[in-house]
Symmetry: C2
């Protein structure tokens, strides 16, 4: 046995409840969970490395199921502006100055933030995502779902009105599809990297290309991760092009299936979402991002109640602030309660399942991770709960640590992070990565990007320009 | 000069904006701010203690303007239940077993959580609050606003229907009033303790007693802190007793004035709240608590937009989870955006003012604290922002640290906490208090309380009992 985690409360997620085990232990051999159960039945002397997790809860690592990490370099750059300004007048003028290595450094910062706060899987969604896999995720040792963005629309659409149809550039789409295909070949035998196709959204790709993508999925047993019903711009384009809604078009085309992971869905109706659940479509919600940008609460709790598979993601940092899954759970629960006017909406236990086994199912990797069970890969985190902000915890008549993890913890309590049995974080510090150096490099590069972007940012004239000049920022 | 804080970005809150100073410094002599400005103009060699705050933001300590800290012992004990069950069927059966010293330990845990995450003032609201002042707040060295609860209603109201008028026990009310009066005498010359009268709510006190309280306030220049329009139970009682709303009764009686700090206000109408602003009534909102218990978003942003003075509080831990003001700011902003369907609601800069100068004004202590200005008392915190979760930060074309403090920080980044010039927390650790011992004692006492309460808790039969038995908790 390589590692034994002992003296701990386990939250295993085994079965369809939380599967809490008091005085539990976990054994890991060759990256696999070889023991999960009462501490008394594990011989820890047989382990090379014994992790005393007294005062900690041990649970499956969190799954951050939807991110665009490169934007982390622009954290704090675009928020508190009207939805209509966010993309083109606030974020856009800054993002256009993020070049080459800047994106890698931004992604590294975001990925490390996610892992430090307990994520063992990060789904990265972006152009040329293979570069981030090689330069960020594999060196960090974190499990990643690499989603290559596929779109056929030119980046600069500033001349187009909202109902002017985007032109499709098939060549651009084919190139992205080829990059995605290459990822599947490249990582066929790499357990820590799972590619997905990322047709960006129905307004960004032609139906021809979309059918090509789904055809490959059926042929090779692969999955699709797509933004679906994400807001007004998409709705207008789809209405103009197809005289229908996104969900109607996808259903008509026979593309609503278990192969599809749909991000967002707040632009669909409840009836449409119920149809998605029926078709086996999975969902990922991004509460802080969508609330921060749009003032909208994603339908995570509704989708769950309809019986759908749902995971959670942090999307992008400029806006919601970051990539901390535990904080995202609290936000998701509070927003769901406010949105429903019901304090029982998205309770703590449901949120914890969304962040673990829910995310693993959403990404199609639940055969390997998402629960603590013998035979699964050892993606495991310990979270200290004997802290001023999360204590006290009792185990009778119920485990207060379940609500305390969701409502009381901040993410800083995460102590150890194991991915595939390897320690990535021990006692709160990265084993192999240098956090201070990454922060310093991000500061330097961000200073350069913001300086280079200042003139464009002023010309774009979002409300933030006035607020800055008035002394609010 | 006793202390110099150097190499830091200042967020002073001076004037009516944020007053950011790059490369700033603060000087402290005899507990007073004697220098606030550019670092170049401060001779740090004249200081006994030099705090190098490179990578940190330095700002006025946060004001947690409404708490009932004793309930922190029951953290994780009551949440995710219908509003109608929360008080009497979920929290009540546990709270009735919190005895004597338990309340002190719970309050100590909560107060230390608050201070560790940057609060330099905690407003404590409770019965016999003087005991907590002496046993918790003064030993901890934190500024406190001690609000003695005054009510005339017996604790056990389980026999009464919602429209059965509560009986008033004048003797009970007079005893509480006398305790409050004694606090004003006791702490007349103690700068760190500011008493307030705490008539609990209009359904809990007679008009006679309430007029007595306000009469004392006018005579001695004192203030009142009262729960106002906090929900359905209050509304029904006031309607039955006065055939009017709480705000109407208070206005009719001439009690809406600058002497009143009103907690909650979500049960009033917007027109009523506008009237409160006109009358000079101050407000404190408690977003996580009210959302967690009621699924309601407090009208913090609305009150601010009407021009009212507004602070923020964490109320109680069983439900929202804790007493971390920075986290509460993020929650407040996200909830306000969702509630308004508007991403510009409660922007970061406004939230930071609410938590500092807003809270100080709400509690009537802004002559001494709430901003960094020469002549004020030195309640100052440093927050590390060169972290994986809060970097990068740039100062041009605007200070991204303003949104990053609110949306990206978790509260764990707070590094140093000075109250009245004294270091309470340095480098993340309490100077004089033993956090581990407090956590351990809270765990022991909580285990005893929950065990003793189990039978009552089961008999009260909230939904949590079923959830626990089903394996969700």
């Amino acid at each position: 046995m390589d590692t034994a985690i002992v003296n701990t409360t386990l939250v295993t997620m085994r079965g369809d409840r939380l599967g809490v085990v008091d005085d539990g232990a976990v054994g890991v051999t060759d990256g696999e969970l070889t023991y999960v159960g009462p501490g008394d039945d594990l011989d820890e002397t047989a382990a090379d490395d014994v992790v005393d997790a007294a005062g900690c809860v041990t649970l499956p690592g969190f799954v951050n199921a939807h991110t665009h990490m490169r934007h982390t370099l622009l954290r704090g750059g675009a928020q508190d502006v009207p939805e209509i300004e966010w993309m083109n007048r606030a974020l856009g003028p800054l993002a256009s100055h993020v070049e080459g290595e800047d994106a890698v450094v931004g992604a590294r910062l975001g990925a490390m933030e996610a892992v430090r706060s307990g994520a063992t899987t990060v789904c990265e969604y972006g152009d040329e995502v293979g570069r981030l896999v090689e330069e960020v995720y594999r060196p960090l040792g974190v499990r990643t779902v690499a989603t290559e963005t596929i779109n056929e629309v030119p980046d600069d659409r500033s001349d187009l009105g909202p109902r002017d149809l985007y032109p499709f550039d098939r060549e651009q789409g084919e190139a992205a599809l080829a990059r995605a295909d290459a990822l599947f070949e490249e990582y066929a035998d790499v357990d820590l990297v799972t590619p997905m196709y990322g047709p960006q959204a129905l307004d960004m790709v032609s139906l021809d290309l979309l059918h090509d993508v789904f055809e490959r999925c059926r042929e090779h047993d692969r999955d699709v991760h797509m933004h679906v019903a994400q807001g007004e711009r998409e709705r207008l384009q789809i209405d103009e092009r197809y005289d229908a809604t996104t969900v109607e078009v996808l259903d008509e085309e026979g593309l609503l299936s278990e192969r599809l992971l749909a991000a967002h869905l707040h632009g669909a109706t409840e009836a449409e979402r119920a149809r998605l659940v029926e078709r086996g479509v999975r969902m990922v919600g991004n509460p802080s991002s969508i609330c921060g940008i749009d003032g909208i609460v994603p339908p995570i709790d509704e989708y769950r109640k309809h019986g759908g598979v749902v995971g959670i993601g942090t999307d992008q940092a400029p806006g919601p602030g970051g990539h901390n899954v535990l904080r995202e759970l609290r936000t998701a629960s509070m927003l769901s309660k406010a949105d429903a006017g019901d304090p029982t909406a998205l309770p703590a236990w449901a949120a914890l399942r969304v962040a673990t086994v829910g995310g693993a199912r959403a990404l199609g990797i639940d055969d390997r991770v998402g629960t603590l069970e013998v035979g699964k890969r050892a993606d495991v985190v310990t979270v200290e709960v004997d802290t001023l902000g999360t204590a006290p915890n009792v185990s009778r008549p119920f485990h207060t640590v379940v609500p305390n993890l969701v409502y009381a913890s901040t993410g800083a309590e995460v102590r150890d992070v194991f991915v595939d049995g390897e320690a990535v974080v021990r006692d709160g510090s990265f084993v192999d990565a240098d956090a201070d150096a990454v922060v310093a490099e991000a500061n330097e590069r961000a200073a350069r990007v913001f300086e280079a972007a200042e003139s464009d940012w002023r010309d774009a004239d979002s409300e933030l320009v006035d607020r800055a000049d008035e002394g609010w920022l």
